[in-house]
């Protein structure tokens, strides 16, 4: 028996490989990368699915994950603490059991990086271009980081004694410990970004001229507290939340009494009340004109505040202050959901009133610049993030958008592309957006049941008097588990299912990184089983050209 012939064969036969069944096809499968809803929902522009994919390996995968993450957002340890995570609201897994705990994995990676001392990538060759950034909040830091990576020289001018903007002077330390903030800012400065603190820019035109800058990014935030007229005496001490939180950070604890009332319904109101509690107020009361459901504050922050003994009075306004007493008017919602006065009053004793009614941007520095359009105390920008004045770009709280750190970081990231284009005279093109990987593209059958892990909280007793961090991080095992809950929406994660289910052996496994599978179109009959059975929706059928 010849040794090339398989055992026990007696007749010479031809192989069916001669029969190219690919001819039968009217449609062909192709691998695609769809846009995962988390990425779509992340205002910072992170490629969440991609870094979760790396983190799923554990071990060395964490650093790879962190590197993917910081390509878009240089502040993961900060964001893993303060972000309101719209990514999780968008996450497809929520329709299966619960959203992936993206934010807690982000924090885990950010903390790993700080403790392991991972460094940001080396900047590109120096271009010689000079960019001025006004303000060192998240937006200014983000743009500075991205521009430094592209080899531009960046100077940040900051009026406050320390960098960070509202991350330092707004968000209290019990939500964002300052050593974490400092570590992530340090890492950006280490790229060669020049930071000048205590330097207010009062006249932008002059500053640009003096420094001979090629472009400018404005990120001055919104720091001017809105006020409301409260008639009556001044026996009660009235102050604004922004000043209170700022003072706290500068080591000048605000003068507050035992009975503190906070007026407003946003996160700032909650932070002011929770800080007051830690400063000795007995049971701070938040007064808000609308209902609980209408509060702009985020649900988790609200729940944490309630746990700490903050009390609430909804559908109420402060109609006047008189001695140590407040006159409170009850409100009613009209048919459009707007609060209307009822003329019913009651009295409440309070020795301190903290106003948390929102902020406006201080745009004084724009004085001498033509062409800048101001809309409702904010600066209008075009799709290149540029103001009406050529070469002056802006982002963050000072432009019309949702006010949150992730948005500010995303603006910085986008603006950096546009500024880079401006400096090189090649306008940045919009980033291509893939088709959304909707839940309908997922084959939920394949995902094993896996409830979400929950981050532990600091014991309540220690939340009464200290500014110690309230929410703790995940341990390694839990972070890994959480990362592995990701469905990898719209992006192949090498599960081998297409390779296993094809009745025609028409899926090949060449084994290359990034493209683990390929279709053998000589034999694929175009049945579509691989498409239906791809767990994550990374294959589509397209009509065959005839």
């Amino acid at each position: 028996m010849s040794d090339t012939r398989p055992f026990a064969i007696t007749l010479d036969v031809g192989s069916s490989l001669a029969n190219r069944t690919g001819d039968w096809r009217t449609e062909r499968p192709q691998y695609v990368r769809r846009l995962p809803p988390c990425n779509h929902g992340c205002p910072a522009g992170e490629d969440i699915q991609a870094w979760l994919y790396e983190a799923e390996s554990g071990g060395g995968g964490y650093e790879r994950a962190w590197r993917k993450l910081v390509a878009d957002n240089p502040l993961p340890a900060v964001m893993g603490r303060v972000c309101f995570h719209p990514c999780e609201t968008a996450c497809n897994r929520a329709q299966l059991d619960e959203a992936v705990g993206i934010n807690s994995v982000e924090r885990f990676l950010g903390d790993e990086a700080i403790s392991a001392g991972w460094e940001l990538p080396e900047p590109h060759a120096v271009t010689g271009k000079r960019v001025l950034v006004v303000g060192s909040g998240p937006s200014g830091l983000s743009v500075a980081y991205q521009l430094a990576l592209r080899g531009h020289h960046v100077t940040i001018r900051e009026q406050a004694p320390k960098p960070g903007g509202m991350m330092r002077y707004g968000i209290p330390a019990y939500r964002l410990p300052r050593d974490v903030l400092d570590a992530e800012i340090e890492r950006i400065l280490a790229l060669g970004v020049q930071l000048e603190c205590g330097e207010r820019v009062g006249d932008l035109r002059a500053a640009m001229r003096e420094g001979a800058y090629d472009a400018t990014f404005l990120a001055v935030g919104a720091h001017v507290a809105k006020h409301t007229e409260i008639p009556g005496g001044t026996a009660s001490h009235v102050l604004d939340a922004i000043a209170m939180l700022h003072g706290l950070e500068e080591g000048e604890p605000p003068q507050i009494g035992r009975t503190v009332v906070v007026y407003g319904g946003g996160d700032t109101a909650l932070d002011a009340a929770r800080s007051a509690k830690r400063l000795g107020a007995s049971a701070p009361l938040i007064i808000y004109r609308r209902t609980r459901e209408q509060m702009p504050a985020h649900a988790t922050e609200l729940a944490e505040a309630e746990q700490e003994g903050i009390t609430f009075r909804w559908l109420s306004t402060i109609a006047g202050v008189d001695g140590g007493e407040l006159k409170i008017e009850r409100m009613e919602l009209d048919e459009n959901g707007f609060p209307q006065p009822t003329g019913e009053y009651e009295r409440l004793s309070a020795d301190t009133v903290v106003l948390a009614l929102g902020q406006d941007a201080d745009l004084e520095l724009l004085g001498g610049l033509d062409g800048i359009e101001i809309v409702d105390h904010t600066v209008a920008v075009d799709e290149q993030m540029m103001t009406g004045y050529p070469g002056v770009f802006a982002g963050g709280d000072m432009v019309p958008a949702e006010r949150m750190v992730a948005v500010a970081i995303g603006h910085g990231r986008r603006a950096a592309r546009c500024i880079d284009g401006w400096l090189r005279d090649v306008p940045a093109r919009p980033e291509p957006q893939a088709e959304l990987a909707a839940f309908e593209e997922i084959n939920p059958w394949y995902y094993s049941d896996a409830p979400r892990t929950v981050r532990p909280l600091l014991e309540e007793i220690r939340r009464q008097s200290t500014f110690e961090e309230v929410v703790k991080g995940l341990d390694e095992a839990s972070a890994l588990y959480e990362a592995r809950r990701c469905l990898s929406c719209g992006n192949c994660f090498s599960c081998d299912n297409c390779f296993g289910v094809c009745p025609d052996n028409a899926v090949l496994k060449p084994g290359g990184a990034g493209a683990p599978y390929a279709f053998d179109l000589d034999y694929c009959k175009g049945c579509g089983i691989c498409v239906t059975e791809c767990p994550c929706g990374a294959i589509e059928m397209i009509p065959e050209e005839t």
Partner: protein, 350 residues
């Protein structure tokens, strides 16, 4: 907060996964798998039988260290794989007649024994027509004599190769070329047909199992398990047929999954006549979800529909669920004796 690891997003539902240990990956994820049936075969687009046979034989080849002979009954599996002079088979393979595959397999096993080649294992295989109907005497004989053969039936619930005629495995109410829904008839009759797996169990052979192409790992494990026994063994695999069932070619696996999840096709394992494990339903569905995707049941939904027939089919599914303990809260099935199962049996699994 301790979470048991390793956990992987698809667990073991997909065939492989980059994070799984090699041992936890299915044979089908191995780029070096045998591909017992190679490409270029002439099975229809989305054929469940072509997939099922490759999975079964690749697993058996791995278990037998590559020393395996297959005897095949007439039917689609034979016709689409061997139009002379082409063959898709990458293992020694013999075909004789429609009715005699179990006997041919017996003969091959006897010949090998006579030559002292007990290292070489034998598989017999055929469609449901060749197994449940015309080849049944040969199969029963093979069981009864204790021949050392693993016999696998690829059940697509009809004589597909000759144009979709009814077999003893065709489910009630299904349209076939010989059970047209005409006059008052709504397809194949209720109360007829048989369950080959239960009858195989009645022979008290070492190993009997059912499986579907919706769970390739389960199918592979059953083949591997069967190969660990000697003597007659029987595996009955549900393999949807897009042509005969009138289903979308891309939904072959989905439909097999619905057959199992609705309870219409119970998936279980039996050792020496006793059921030792059942595959529980993970996400229960009404039979309608399974039936609606197939044109062979379209007459149940045309016009005012046939809620009475649907109810009867649901009753069959419910009885399977109860009899085999297919739901999570059911008692462990370890003690289900064959006679208990047969006692309530009006007919076999649909």
């Amino acid at each position: 907060m301790s979470t048991p690891l390793p956990f992987y997003q698809t667990g073991t539902f997909a065939v492989g996964g980059r994070l799984l240990d090699e041992d936890d990956r299915a044979v089908q994820s191995d780029p070096e798998r045998s591909n017992a049936i190679t490409k270029g075969h002439r099975a229809c687009q989305g054929c469940g039988e072509a997939l099922g046979a490759r999975v079964v034989l690749d697993a058996a080849l791995r278990a037998a260290d590559g020393r395996l002979v297959a005897a095949n009954a007439t039917g689609c599996l034979e016709v689409f794989s061997t139009p002379y002079p082409e063959s898709s088979w990458r293992l020694p393979w013999i075909h004789s007649l429609f009715a005699n595959a179990p006997a041919v397999a017996t003969g091959v096993a006897a010949a090998l024994r006579a030559k002292g080649r007990t290292d070489i294992r034998v598989v017999g295989q055929g469609g449901d027509g060749g197994t449940v109907d015309i080849g049944f005497a040969c199969l029963s004989g093979m069981f009864e004599r204790g021949d050392d053969v693993l016999y696998v039936c690829y059940d697509n619930q009809g004589y597909m190769n000759t144009g979709v005629q009814r077999s003893g495995a065709t489910p009630p109410a299904a349209r076939t070329a010989t059970t047209e829904p005409l006059g008052g008839h709504s397809g194949n009759s209720f109360g007829q047909g048989k369950s080959a797996p239960l009858i195989a169990m009645a022979h008290e052979i070492p190993y009997v199992a059912t499986a579907t192409v919706a769970d390739l790992r389960d199918l592979e494990q059953k083949v591997t398990r069967a190969m660990s026994f000697h003597g007659p063994r029987y595996i009955h695999v549900l393999v949807p047929c897009p042509l005969g069932w009138g289903s979308a070619t891309g939904e072959t696996i989905l439909i097999a999954r619905l057959a199992k999840e609705s309870g219409l096709f119970p998936v279980f394992e039996a050792v020496e006549g006793r059921i030792t494990s059942v595959a529980r339903i993970r996400h229960k569905v009404a039979v309608e979800e399974y039936l609606r995707r197939q044109k062979r049941f379209a007459h149940l939904f045309a016009g005012d529909g046939r809620p009475d027939v649907l109810a009867r089919l649901q009753t069959l599914a419910n009885r399977n669920i109860e009899r085999y303990g297919l739901l999570d809260d059911a008692d462990e099935p370890t003690d289900i004796g064959l006679l208990d199962a047969l006692a309530t049996s009006e007919r076999g699994p649909v």
